[in-house]
Symmetry: C2
Subunit: 147 residues, 2 copies
Amino acid sequence: METTPRIGELACFALYTASRAVIGLYRPVLDRLGLTYPQFLVLMALWEQDGRTVSALGDALQLDSGTLSPLLKRLEAAGFVERRREFGDERRVTVHLTEAGAALEREGCAVTEVVGTAAGMPLEELLALRDKLNEFTESVIRHRAAR
Amino acid sequence: METTPRIGELACFALYTASRAVIGLYRPVLDRLGLTYPQFLVLMALWEQDGRTVSALGDALQLDSGTLSPLLKRLEAAGFVERRREFGDERRVTVHLTEAGAALEREGCAVTEVVGTAAGMPLEELLALRDKLNEFTESVIRHRAAR
DNA sequence: CGCAATTAAGTTGCGCACAATCAAAATGCG
DNA sequence: CGCATTTTGATTGTGCGCAACTTAATTGCG
């Protein structure tokens, strides 16, 4: 690369703006449910499998306890989840959906559908884009670990 | 969609993790320069064209003054930029690179090169991914505005 | 001209992300 | 068993993002 690249040429900037754009697309819908985007992701992870530990949620969402602990506290205060210290291992905390949290699944499911029409491309292309991104992330994380 | 999609199936989640992964890839390099990722983007915008106004930077980076004002204050405190009230229009503030800020361009240019090898795909594919993402963002923002 | 409407940037408040640190519980090795 | 090490989650501190609001300057309409 001879000259400094322009911002618009950077893949990292394209990712950064694309990610914020979708989150902004979801925002008004999630607002009505009283959720932020990361909170919504946590609920999705629990709809898939309830009773996960904090670290299991962290693995699923690539977030650490510094982010999850206060987030879960807010989700609990909102009445969507409940945290329980495990009996066997007192260090572990499992997170469980309340009735209200479980009830959000139906509406929550619909949240993600808006991206299909907003993406401006056929579903097939969107799925291909998603797969390419996951492949990319996988590789980047491997390169990060290797140091 | 009959059932709730799994997190790994969501394009939005793929974007979210991919974006954070690249930023994390850049972090150790940017740390050495004393920059955060958004600060680095602002400098890139200024290397491309110095003396932009705050709102022009906001247009380029899709950020508002609530984000940029404190960020620019920190960049100024670090000695990389200088802010000047415009003479013609006292509302406007132009942002100018200092010598130190301009001097970062050479090293800053190199920062973005690491993604090429970490991406785990040929440059051509990475550029195609970038273009697809920009197309996607464009469409999502249009759908956001239309309401 | 006079004043309402608009525009530009800054401020406030909240919720992430993430590094660094901490406390408590569990594990494992001599 | 005893104690160092590891694991798990929580806490602290900094810097975004973004909505809502404020302030000050400019514009434009009657």
